[in-house]
């Protein structure tokens, strides 16, 4: 059940990163893992990802910076769907994340199944748009 959707996981906690990666890979996604802000920025400049799963508290650039970089740059990552996964749960943080470009916000601890549903939904939506654009 392989699909062509590419997901980047930007999360400094290796266990959480591998938790998400394991489940996405099992669902057939192609997954890239980076563990700090600078590495993420570099990766986003060099390749296009359909979906980015971003933690907020990161070493180097934080998740907000990554969001705004994804949405405001000329690099290939523009159009990437941004899912924020963070232990920060205050309304201010959520609002700020949306302003900076997050499309969707998951508070830790999250349910893997629901995160996977969200990713699948985004993939389906993006595929539909792709088909419409092709027509």
């Amino acid at each position: 059940m392989k699909n062509s959707t590419k997901v980047i996981i930007i999360e400094d906690d290796k266990d959480i990163s591998s938790l998400i990666a394991y489940n996405l890979r099992k669902a057939g996604y192609s997954v890239e893992q980076v563990f700090d802000g600078y590495a993420a920025a570099k990766e986003l400049r060099s390749a296009y990802f359909n979906i980015a799963i971003v933690d907020i508290m990161l070493p180097g650039l934080n998740g907000f910076d990554i969001c705004s970089q994804i949405k405001n740059s000329d690099n290939p990552s523009r159009g990437t769907f941004v899912i924020v996964v963070s232990a920060k749960t205050s309304p201010q943080d959520k609002l700020y994340a949306h302003i900076m470009g997050a499309d969707c916000y998951f508070a830790k601890p999250f349910s893997v199944a629901i995160l996977l549903d969200a990713v699948n939904e985004v993939r389906d939506m993006q595929n539909r748009e792709f088909i419409i654009n092709q027509k």
């Binding site: 906690d13 290796k14 266990d15 959480i16 938790l19 601890p109 999250f110 893997v112 199944a113």
Partner: protein
């Protein structure tokens, strides 16, 4: 004042004396004149009896002349007899020959009165004949009510006038004497009155200069005495009041000067009246320099100046939080209150409260809460996620299932140690903590702790040298000190290299024992050293988590040592190890 009083005296004397002497003189003059008149009239009646009507009828000049010549020296008056036609028949001062040559006397007022009216005629006149003032009495001589002639007596008034002028002289002399006496008396009396008044003036001048040490000494019962008493009482009251006010001012200024809050008082034109030492410290200005300047001139801060202007124009108090960048980053709560006088704004009182520390503590607390929630949620996320993953089928994934369970175990342990550390911290921070202080043998405690790390030390092949002298005793709570050693050795172990070393030793330092835990590990970057004892501060977050650290170990060490009255510190250079030390009382 003195001169006025004397003049008043003289004036009163002059008026009373003048009036008295005027009426006395008048009365005396009239009295003596009427006396002379009446005695002259009675003499005239006596003489009239002696004049024979016959000789008068006949005009017997000689017999008449003889009569007047005899009588005149006896009554010391001039006697003249005149017939009814006014012709002089006899005169005591003239010879009969001369008498006949005298002019007709009918027109003389006294003669006329006597002849025409038949009454006694009286007149006072200057006699050209004799050259002196004369009193004339003319008595009509009648026969069967028919006027025959006139008997006139004349008396020179020279004597009367002489007597009067003597009296006048005496009165005048008396007046002069009285005036002189009045002057002297006036001088003495006024001096007596003005001397205490002058003294009162002197002392009250001192009062007005604020010198209340003098008192007016005057015990007389009169008005001056009463005035002195009142003034003295007033001075005493004023002195008491002023002392009271001064004391209140001193209290106020003591409060003003010792307040931690900065206080600025400005007038209605925004000019500084006074600032307290706290303000001097905050803005680096001097009260003496600032006085009289507008706030903006003295302190170049637009925000506070705006607040003052708002308060002065609107008359409403304001409370604003102001962040100051210079001379240092500080946060102030600025409370500005208008000062009212007669319902109009007359100035503004600004109280500046430095809330930097409060804000800093708030930030720390907020950060701590956020950190705690993050630190708890991260392992929870892994546990929850992997359990879910295993349940969703990964349980059958032979390649990963054990690994996932290991991760879950790790995180459960991390949660456990995190909860333990948090509980320790909150216990150490609570005010009612009580330490069980005993003599603690440091070397023995260190040995026990090292023993507990046995397997981990062997695994990393790290050698621990306990260089603490076996006889060192410190006053401490043994369990807490054990925790200090545990956390420091744990760190020294975690951040050490393979086959590294840990040295524990002590030295005397200012009468205290300084214990050093030295490692040969990775060291701490210089920029991180000041914050290394903060809660959840980690040089390398990922590495710390990997090693199972909670980020609270050093914070707990710091708390325990400080509760023992000691202090902690660290010296480190990146790459060559760290020396953590703490002091304890012997």
């Amino acid at each position: 004042m003195k001169l006025k009083l004397i003049l008043l005296y003289v004036f009163v004397i002059l008026i009373s004396f003048g009036l008295t002497s005027f009426f006395l003189d008048k009365n005396l003059e009239e009295n003596s004149l009427s006396n002379i008149q009446s005695s002259l009239i009675s003499e005239a009646y006596l003489i009239e009896n002696q004049i024979s009507v016959e000789s008068l009828k006949r005009g017997d000049v000689f017999s008449l002349d003889a009569l007047v010549k005899i009588l005149s020296p006896k009554i010391k008056s001039r006697i003249t007899i005149i017939d009814k036609g006014g012709k002089v028949l006899a005169d005591s001062e003239r010879s009969p020959q001369d008498t006949l040559k005298m002019e007709n006397h009918f027109s003389r007022p006294e003669i006329n009165t006597a002849l025409a009216g038949g009454k006694i005629g009286i007149d006072t006149r200057f006699s050209r004949t004799l050259g002196i003032d004369m009193l004339y009495i003319a008595l009509p001589i009648k026969d069967n009510n028919q006027p025959l002639g006139v008997l006139r007596l004349a008396l020179p008034l020279g004597d009367v006038q002489k007597t009067l002028s003597t009296i006048r002289k005496i009165v005048f002399l008396g007046l002069l004497l009285a005036l002189g006496f009045a002057f002297v008396l006036g001088y003495i009396v006024t001096t007596r009155i003005t001397r205490p008044i002058n003294r009162i003036i002197q002392v009250s001048r001192k009062f007005s200069e604020g010198d209340f040490t003098h008192r007016i000494i005057n015990h007389s019962k009169d008005e001056i005495g009463e005035l002195s008493f009142t003034l003295n009482k007033m001075a005493q009251d004023l002195e008491d009041k002023i002392r009271e006010i001064r004391q209140q001012n001193q209290e106020l200024s003591a409060i003003f000067n010792s307040m931690i809050e900065g206080i600025i008082v400005v007038d209605k034109t925004s000019r500084i009246v006074s600032v307290n030492p706290a303000i001097e410290k905050i803005f680096g200005i001097l009260n003496a320099d600032a006085q009289g300047k507008t706030f903006l001139e003295a302190v170049r801060n637009n925000e506070i100046s705006e607040i003052i202007n708002n308060v002065l124009t609107q008359g409403k108090s304001l409370s604003v939080e102001v962040t100051l960048v210079l001379p240092g980053h500080r946060i102030f709560e600025v409370n500005a209150v208008p000062i009212f006088e007669n319902d109009s704004v007359n100035g503004c009182l600004v109280v500046i409260h430095d809330i930097t520390e409060i804000r800093r503590l708030e930030t720390i607390r907020r950060d701590f809460v956020a950190n705690v929630s993050h630190e708890l949620k991260t392992p929870l996320t892994s546990i929850k996620g992997f359990v879910e993953t295993l349940l969703e089928g990964a349980l059958d994934d032979k390649e990963n299932n054990r690994n996932f369970l290991k991760i879950i175990q790790n995180h459960a342990e991390r949660l456990n140690s995190l909860v333990n550390d948090l509980l320790s911290l909150s216990y150490l921070e609570s005010k009612n903590i009580s330490l069980e202080i005993n003599d603690v043998n440091l070397s023995r405690v260190a040995d026990e702790v090292i023993l507990g790390f046995g397997s981990q030390l062997r695994k990393k092949r790290i050698e621990v040298v306990n260089g603490l002298a076996p006889d060192i005793l410190v006053k401490a709570d043994e369990e807490r000190i054990k925790q200090v050693f545990t956390n420091l050795i744990d760190n020294a172990l975690k951040f050490n290299r393979e086959k590294g070393a840990i040295k524990i030793y002590s030295e005397e330092f200012n009468g205290k024992i300084r214990v050093i835990v030295e490692d040969s590990g990775i060291g701490i970057p210089e920029k991180d050293i000041p914050r290394i004892f903060e809660r959840f501060y980690r040089v390398d977050k990922a590495r710390s988590r990997e090693l199972g650290g909670t980020g609270l170990g050093l914070s707990i060490v710091k708390h325990i040592v400080e509760l023992h009255g000691g202090m902690v510190g660290v010296e480190s250079s990146e790459g060559s190890g760290s020396r953590f030390f703490f002091t304890l009382l012997k």
